[in-house]
Symmetry: C2
Subunit: 224 residues, 2 copies
Amino acid sequence: MSARTETVPEITAYRSVPEFARGRIKDIRVRWALEEIGQLYRTRLIGGIFGEKAPAYLADQPFGQVPVYKEGDLTLFETGSILIHIGEADERLLPRDAKGRGRAISWMIAALNSVEPMIQTLVVLTVKGQGTDWLAGAIEAAKPFAEERLSRLSQALGDRDWLEDHFSIGDIVMADVLRNASAELLAPHSNLTAYVARGKDRPAFQKAMAAHLADCTVGEPLPA
Amino acid sequence: MSARTETVPEITAYRSVPEFARGRIKDIRVRWALEEIGQLYRTRLIGGIFGEKAPAYLADQPFGQVPVYKEGDLTLFETGSILIHIGEADERLLPRDAKGRGRAISWMIAALNSVEPMIQTLVVLTVKGQGTDWLAGAIEAAKPFAEERLSRLSQALGDRDWLEDHFSIGDIVMADVLRNASAELLAPHSNLTAYVARGKDRPAFQKAMAAHLADCTVGEPLPA
């Protein structure tokens, strides 16, 4: 059924982050995928989001982010790339037929490039703009882009459980992206709210989140 | 050398867009990849960015964007997904060995999720905020995120021609993402400026852009 790797893979994660970021870091997506297929993994902790990164770390992850994924002599960065690799070894995450595989990867990239950026813009403006006189205007300008994407997504999902007939890496990323959207953004779309809840109900998500929270403390200060 | 497909693929593109968007639509990335490997393709034009999309179109592309890619009975959406598919047929775009393939896909996803969103946020705020009293504050808050990613990218690229030893789908997306960054953002990094110029100098890019411009007129009004 699954082609489980003999080599136990290693991922990196942050040891400490600011409060708003705990539970919202991308190692969760990779832990989730690995838990879905029962793949053991090791975690290597590095400082925090804003701390200096060692040159050796930047050689593996040019942007200093987490996770880096190592399996034997293979090193990958970016969760999307890591999830394609993990999925290719197990059809519970990524169908083997060209059509099913294509749809799952298309959805995953859609989550990363057509949905997450619009949601992330609102998060960044909200965090950086607290108490400023520009926040309301900027949010009003940026919010329609996120709303439009969520409306389209809600329409595409309809009353299905997952984006396609079967759960895939597309759902891991999309559900995690939506999990970080504000309740206000999701409120008009009860099917998206239910979709996020369905993702969070999966035992693999819960194990992934528990492992993330056990590794990652609150403590890193925000940069000046 | 290359496993060229017998079926001529079809992509969708916009017939008409607002002035700021012409030359900056994502069909260019797919045309570029196809030109790099000498793959003929057909173009199917649809209305514009903001126009209503037919239900049949939304079934292929849930967000109503371009391009949709069709090859035989395979339909893909999202340029990242399409480029992986095109690359898998030709090692001039995507190495076949696991390491090279992994790095190329990691870079492509980095362009889509770790670089483009930060640049796109500045574009959106600038377009929507012209003449408002909130624009300067919002740009000041959002710009450091884009600057940090470009600094990291510049450091990773160093004095190489491409992100890895050989040109790949990672370079197609990264160079096109940077092409849409402001001159001010790129100015501190002469290697990134040269990297974009190197991408634009490739005959395949020039053919792709010419075909895009021939198909896509300026005319669609901005939504109210």
